[in-house]
Symmetry: C3
Subunit: 153 residues, 3 copies
């Protein structure tokens, strides 16, 4: 339970795992790969949930939101895998950033997730990623993130 310990050291408490409300699931494992559904920042208190970068959310707001989404993804993976130590590598992260027509700093927003993955998983957390600008997202959330992780045999 090294990763659990690391989360404790970092003072991180995971949110509840996501619960799908339709005919899909939050993760699917195929071979050694686990694909997640796109996650949003959830419904905790005091956070910016409905907002858009370049309109009413700053890069700092977006960074915080991406970090929140990443915490939710880790929670979902913990729920699916039982033990986060089973994660061998964060393979790929796609960050869909709710963007105004002239917002071009999607990477700085997605860093909120990338930085967390490396804080928590170390070198195993270093991933390939794409950051792109969306005209809108479900429920008006500022950030949606999906990921692929590789797990131990």
């Amino acid at each position: 339970m090294k990763i659990e310990k690391r989360l404790e050291e970092l003072g991180i408490e995971l949110p509840l795992p996501a619960t799908p409300v339709a005919n899909y699931v939050t993760t699917v494992q195929t071979g050694n790969l686990v694909f997640t559904s796109g996650h949003g920042p959830g419904t905790g208190e005091g956070k910016i949930y409905k907002s858009q970068l370049g309109t009413d959310a700053s890069v700092d707001d977006g960074y915080a939101s991406a970090r929140q989404v990443a915490l939710g993804l880790i929670s979902t993976l913990k729920h699916a895998l039982g033990d986060l130590d089973r994660i061998k590598r964060v393979v790929k992260v796609v960050g869909f950033i709710n963007s105004s027509a002239d917002f071009t700093d999607q990477p700085a927003v997605l860093n909120g997730a990338s930085d967390l993955f490396v804080e928590v998983f170390g070198d195993k957390g270093k991933h390939a990623r794409s950051a792109v600008g969306m005209v809108q997202l479900p429920g008006g959330i500022p950030v949606e993130i999906e990921m692929i992780v590789e797990i131990e045999d």
Copy 2:
């Protein structure tokens, strides 16, 4: 041919498989995974093909369109695999929804595909997914969907 029988029971007739018009193909298999190209709703009759959610397409229109796209994907997979029973699991579905600046119900639109996959494939049809809002799509289609399926050894 269980899935074929299931399609019959549901009264579903598959459209023709997609035919690429450039230097790409509709599916690529790698190991046990099959990746599809992004599919649109095709060119059948009486459907809304060029439209945008929040502009001139309702959520119901979008749902119907996503279902139509999903039928096309199943047709493409049948063409590629020979037998749909070879599908072990629908792994991942990404729904790119053509959205106005204030349309935030992408998940309800993508349900048109998710519901169909579960109707046709049962538990094997339960997938991870992401639903996101696009400023525009090829040919002005309302919905584009790509997917990954796992096949039997």
Copy 3:
């Protein structure tokens, strides 16, 4: 070194590989698959880098830009794999096209990448792909592309 030779025959000189400026990497290998980060057209001279299809970039501009991005991806893969002959198949390509509200020719833009992959890799370069329209992209680039390749055992 067949692919290197092919690049020479085509008179293609690869740009420098991408260098991430945050907590992510340009490629991750998992099993026989290599996932790349999203790449943009880089910072060479005389190219259109900050532009949008349907606003201030033509389809030809976009095609040239997608080809430039694809060259960067090949350079990144060469850097990661040592030898491009290790590539068994280009599996999947996603083209995120910076699009005005009414630009609908994303596929013609992405052909700049698809055509190059087939020129360079032949049948191994034939991939599944998705082309979609983004409201904005990092740094205002016209095209961002991510890909998955399968490598030899």
